[in-house]
Symmetry: C2
């Protein structure tokens, strides 16, 4: 028979799949002999069973819960509903993967009218008990019954007004009693039933509510954003309450074994006196720093610091602990591997290697590759910063520097981000409901909350710039504005956030690139030693290519020649080429483009110094280059000596129903071979001139959108004939290769034929995904959310390679290609080239390289190393 | 060593690959002892060698040609350049597959100044010789040197004017001499060289010119239209000239062993007295019918008739012969299996089975399936015909009835056809240059020419209505108008052609369907006996379904529910559904649609009487249904009580960048399951009501555009749950199946998973082709011609299944599906379902059925039978 409930002393840290992260760690700590309030954990399997059982707790599970409640009474020597020594409980979620704040918690469970009355023996007791009771009623109403919390908050606010106080601590025992009774009435009114007085009913309903919170909207979104499987389920931890708000010698806090912002090896944290844990997390009161504890509570500080070191050694990782001091006694309520900024993660990992705590490989496995680019994010350019107007300051909660327009609600910022607006979310304090808005924000600014508030934790996790605790700001969310020192900033106003200093500025400030730290370089060098997959970058300009090399790229896997044409001065020549109505006009325009493109290639070859550079020939539908503005159309009309109407008609004729499957890629060069000739000429002539300077040059030409071997053969001939002619004229030989994109399903099927002619393949997984699914990336956003909501898709195939579809085609292509050309080089370019799961897949199927944008090169290197490490295991 | 040249007596009819059709048959006839002017054939391999050799005749080939010329001199006992008994030659193309008129011919070769002078011994001789010489000069200038023929024609026309005669026969010997000399001068002027006097030079240059004509533009287009491979090459036949214009006892003509229009078993043909073959084919003079020959030349008629029967028995097929009578002696210049109307083909084939000349299977192999629908083409509706105004009459050259707008040049008619205009090509006479225009024309009308003129032959081959020899018409091609009895008809005027009677009418005449002849039904019944592949039809209305069943369909392979919604009265309800901004509005609109759709299904189920009917759920992007006209937008704005601008904004939001890969297919029903629920409700309720009338009902529901097993599962649940509920409410059980379209490459890869859930697959080869190639059918036309011209594609993958790509995916899907579901039923729907090569492929890979449009059902049945026959061989 399945065991659904584990006492803490029955578990250990390796059981997180079954007990959740929190439950497993509580068990581990109990067994280590640490001061942890005892309790039991209801397993994640129970959660799945709850859903399988039509969202009902089975009789079997109910019995097991109540049995363990009984055992807990014995262990703690307390009893539920006991007026002398009552067992009060917290009921908390805890999933195998941390999802901070996404699910629900109920505290103070075990109180009812009778018990409260009998416990309220002194004035202090009475205040404490009814404060606890009113919190229970509110949480129960909200979490279990779905009532609106704000209705309860209003009662509290009214009471404060009535009594003329601004802090709850100034309310009396009688006030708390009144509030608790008003809450009970409101409960009855809102829910048409009375608050349950039976403790077991309270417990079982609370457990069910936590199960249900596994599928609340924000949890679903969080899992999707973080690629967490829906089938994990959450465990429920039922634990004896301890109270940081019981006496004057009580406090509650959060501590990190090292600094989560920069990794410094020193206890770090915050605490609140006379408070419950939720007061810290919610950011309602601004807490004191751990230094104040060292001064004011030296013994507790020492005990906490020792436990932190012990736990860190035990877990071999930096810990994030929740603790409560109840009347002078320290309890550890939770420990977990700490969330940290990437900077901290990097420094902690490299430090721990040096401390011989972990190996290099373990260090590499500690940092999620997609976090690395936090470290190479730009900061504000110093001169611009000097001139910028500082308007206020807060806590530097998540590093980086960003400028953007301000928004005050999720809906508006999501809309803004869809329009590619760099947007900053401004909130009094963020809550888990804001997760979607935070995800699309470039930066986050909050009025209250500390370094460990919801906003700060989530922002660091998402790699967003965040400044919290900016108390000077008055936010009016209804009017969509904020006031700072009397000045009104409306929605859409531009400001700048410096996440390293906590400074907020008016307007936009120029940013600059950051050079890499020594730790970063060392860390990357470990990854390079271990990885076997080649890492190249997608870059179209010498500047990007330089950046890519600096960040560790071994070559360019994709140089998109059309990007060169989008530049201001080149697009007019491009337009002349496209609108040419005969070959002569076209050749004239191509002559102009040749000069420009040759110069571009000279620049790139010079920077690359003999490293491979894969140059893709003109790819997008021609109409992408065409003007929409009247001024530009007039310019073209003048050039061609045609009327504006005629030019507009030509432009109109170029429009396509499905441009993604239209006249693009190699199809353009088949219609107009002169384009391919021009591009070849530009490459070979540039190679000749750079080679003349003694610099090695390795151009590889790649033909896009090939679906048939004959397309490739035709263009290969065009390229080779053109190249031969130029090399003969110049009496110089240039070594170049010709390969093809594999981005159309048919090229996969013909891979054996194509491999006989091509020297390398690059999988264009963006387009291959589009065609394999028959799914337009530009249009999918409107309905893919329905796919996630209905669990039809559980990841975005444009972000992560679809191994069950697209990936299988890649394997087929590789197999067919190697059969006819065992030497063929295989790689991928495109968005997937920087995604860890996709890189691991590419490593596994034995590709030679991946190629991604320059800023993603370090993460690709790390991902490749991790794939190699996983492969060894 | 390769033998490049064969004397006629060295070949036989089975060598058509090497000697071409004409050469092989000439050889065969020589060996049968028939009166054929002797000669030799230069092989198709020589043609390929000519191209491989940079378009030069190799020394080796030249030697072999001249050797055989020498042998021919011995056989004919004539000598080139011999003033007593000169050997004059024709040089004609002849490819393995008949391409009538597409390549070049040179006649009278072997004349020069010297020889002409010495042969011109009498006045009659002189006239004949210089007539022949001037024709040689003109043909040589045009065919070998590329000079414009019209310049030569002008000299002839001027001479007629000058002499006041209208017929060349009235020109004297002296006139002919003058013309020949003027031609020689013009030759010198145009080409800057003199006409070659050396006979061997004439011959070798003529041979090279014929080789070159294999790749002239019209030959290339013809091959593409007829799926003939470019690599076949043409042979060249060099043959002794005989002259139908030598004496008064000379004539030339064309004869068919049976009637090529209707198949009647009676010699049929035309001839011209004192004429060369080209005079008949070009249609300049209107020839006499073969009945006149029976009367005026009874002996020759009898000899010709006997030879026709002999050849027909020998070839076991109806023959098309060219003959010339030179001074009373009959020569057969060519025989070949006759081109014929489909009606004739059908009647000849069934007659020959009854005459025990061929077997049923042979009969089935005689008719190309795509010709069959000529027989089910509509004719004019009798009452409308009575009221129509007859404007003129001509020869009924190709059957059928059509109304359309008139065009006088290829460019205009091609443009018109692109705009879906039913267009009629009107020409004085057509020439091979017109092939592209004839292909897009709905009908063809010519002033001169007989039943065997170029226009007539090509029109019958293409299945176009054609009336030729309409002498009352005066065409002015420059002014783009024709005049009939003084009335001017400008470009774009509508007329009607009755290809069965030869009558031309003003305006548009209503047409009606034709019932099938007994021969047709019998022929089809043979096909049905032999075929193993199921044939279903694509039909969306009871009317179409009835037609399909009448034409032999065994079920409906595709009923596109959205086509029902495009109807006038339904589209408004559909628009209301699409523009609904909340579920309530949407459900209201769906309720309206439900009533309509249920009625549609009741009609279909009633007609189908228990035959399978596959119903595809809503497929196209929603914006296809949206209005463009202001009136319609206003109507919607009124309904929704919104402004026009708001409605236009909603419509705008629905626009997609690549709608083919956008929100369509099952993606719609995943976003709006209520659509699938409504469609299921309509089907099941309709089935219940039809079943109540005692009619069996077999609905099969098919989910479109599935790319992932989860999509299918989700919608299968929606369908099953809805169906169950309705069946339970009505206490009736309906047997239905649920299957999926395989039209996205990813569904192929997941076919094993999907087959576990789906009861049948239908390959949507249209979309599968689009996604496999990454090629939009709507946009491909703009560049696919370049692909054909550059030999990158040699067929249209949207017409014929691409067996090397799409077909391979189909095989993979079948293999995977059968692994997990051996009983699964597999078929295809879409354009390919009516294409013979595609049907043969489906037969070969073991699909259960193909489905095509109702009119294509007979051809699909025939194609399936032919595939089965080929499979046995």
């Amino acid at each position: 028979m399945e065991k659904y409930v584990y006492l803490f002393n029955e578990g250990n840290k390796d059981m997180r799949e079954l007990l959740g992260g929190k439950g497993a760690n509580l068990a581990e700590m109990i067994n280590m002999g640490l001061p942890v309030p005892n309790g039991f954990t209801i397993t994640t399997k129970s959660c799945n069973q709850y859903y399988a059982n039509n969202e009902k707790i089975s009789g079997e599970l109910q019995t097991e819960i109540l049995d363990n409640l009984h055992k807990l009474e014995k262990i703690t020597q307390k009893k539920i509903n006991d007026s002398k020594n009552p067992l009060l409980l917290s009921v908390r979620s805890g999933s195998p993967v941390s999802m901070p704040g996404m699910m629900d918690t109920i505290l103070n469970l075990g109180l009812n009218d009778e018990l409260a009355k009998s416990l309220a023996t002194t004035e202090a007791n009475k205040r404490f008990i009814y404060d606890s009771y009113r919190r229970l009623i509110m949480m129960f109403a909200n979490v279990v019954k779905g009532a609106d919390k704000d209705e309860f908050e209003k009662i509290l606010i009214n009471k404060r007004k009535q009594k003329g106080v601004s802090n709850d601590l100034d309310l009396t025992a009688e006030d708390m009693y009144d509030i608790a009774m008003d809450y009970k009435d409101l409960y009855q009114k809102l829910l048409n039933e009375s608050f349950p007085q039976d403790i077991k009913t309270q417990l079982l309903e609370a457990v069910a509510a936590v199960f249900r919170s596994w599928h609340n909207e924000r949890a679903n979104i969080y899992r999707r954003l973080n690629n967490i499987s829906d089938s994990l389920g959450t465990a429920v931890n039922v634990q004896m309450m301890v109270y940081g708000n019981l006496t004057d010698k009580s406090l509650t806090g959060v501590a990190f074994s090292r600094n989560p912002a920069n990794g410094e090896n020193k206890l770090y944290g915050e605490f609140l006196e006379k408070a419950q844990g939720e007061d810290i997390v919610s950011g309602v009161r601004t807490p004191k720093s751990i230094e104040a504890m060292e001064r004011d509570y030296p013994n507790i500080y020492k005990e906490l610091k020792d436990i932190a070191k012990l736990l860190e050694h035990h877990y071999q990782d930096m810990q994030d602990m929740e603790f409560t001091v109840e009347d002078g006694k320290l309890y550890i309520l939770q420990t977990r591997n700490a969330k940290r900024t990437t900077l901290a993660a990097l420094n902690v990992a490299t430090d721990m290697v040096k401390e011989n705590l972990i190996t290099k490989k373990e260090a590499l496995m500690r940092i999620s590759p997609n976090k690395l680019n936090d470290l190479i994010h730009p900061s504000f350019e110093e001169n611009s910063l000097k001139e910028a107007k500082l308007i206020t300051s807060g806590l530097p909660a998540s590093p980086g520097a960003v400028s953007g327009k301000i928004y005050f609600d999720v809906k508006s910022i999501v809309l803004a981000s869809k329009n590619n607006i760099s947007a900053i979310l401004v909130r009094s304090e963020t809550s888990p409901e804001d997760i979607e808005g935070m995800n699309v924000a470039a930066g986050i600014l909050t009025v209250s909350g500390g370094m460990t508030s919801h906003a700060a934790v989530v922002a660091r996790g998402l790699g967003r710039v965040c400044i919290s605790g900016c108390h000077e700001i008055i936010v009016n969310e209804e009017k969509k504005e904020m006031i700072i020192n009397g000045k009104v900033y409306k929605e859409g106003t531009e400001i700048s956030l410096d996440g390293l200093t906590g400074n907020v500025y008016e307007g936009v400030i120029a940013t600059k690139e950051n050079s890499l730290t020594d730790n970063f370089s060392e860390f990357l060098s470990w990854a390079k030693e271990i990885k076997t997959l080649g890492i190249r970058a997608n870059a179209d300009t010498p500047k990007d290519a330089e950046k890519a090399i600096l960040l560790g790229a071994e070559g360019l896997g994709l140089c998109r020649t059309e990007h060169m044409f989008f530049e201001e001065d080149k697009i007019f020549a491009m337009r002349k080429m496209i609108l040419a109505q005969n070959q002569e006009e076209r050749l004239n325009a191509l002559d102009e483009l040749l000069v420009m493109q040759r110069k571009d290639f000279e620049g790139l070859f010079t920077v690359m110094k003999g490293k491979t550079i894969i140059i893709r020939y003109l790819d997008p539908p021609l109409h992408e280059f065409l003007p929409k503005e009247a001024k530009e159309i007039t310019k073209l009309a003048n050039y061609f000596k045609k009327s504006k109407e005629e030019i507009m008609k030509i432009i109109d004729n170029l429009k396509e129903t499905n441009p993604m499957m239209g006249h693009r890629g190699c199809r353009l060069a088949i219609t107009y071979p002169e384009i391919a000739m021009m591009q070849t000429k530009a490459i070979i002539e540039a190679a000749i001139s750079v080679k003349a300077k003694g610099i090695e040059v390795c151009p590889e030409i790649i033909i896009p959108l090939v679906s048939d071997i004959n397309e490739f053969k035709y263009l290969k001939d065009v390229v080779n004939n053109t190249a031969k002619k130029i090399m003969k004229q110049n009496k110089v030989n240039i070594n170049y290769k010709i390969g093809t994109m594999i981005e159309v399903p048919r090229s996969v099927i013909q891979a054996d034929l194509i491999a006989q002619e091509a020297e390398f393949f690059s999988f264009g997984t963006n387009d291959l995904t589009q065609f394999t699914y028959g799914l337009s990336r530009d249009d999918a956003a409107s309905f893919l959310n329905d796919y996630y909501d209905k669990k039809i898709f559980n990841f975005d195939p444009f972000k992560t390679i679809d191994q069950n579809g697209v990936g299988k085609l890649m394997i087929v292509a590789k197999k067919l290609a190697k059969k006819t050309n065992p030497q063929i080089e295989l790689g991928i370019c495109g968005e997937h080239g920087g995604d860890e799961r996709s890189i691991e897949f590419c490593h596994k199927i034995g590709l030679n390289y991946v190629s991604c944008s320059p800023y993603r090169v370090p993460e690709a290197i790390l991902a490749a190393a991790r794939a190699a490490i996983r492969g060894e295991q």
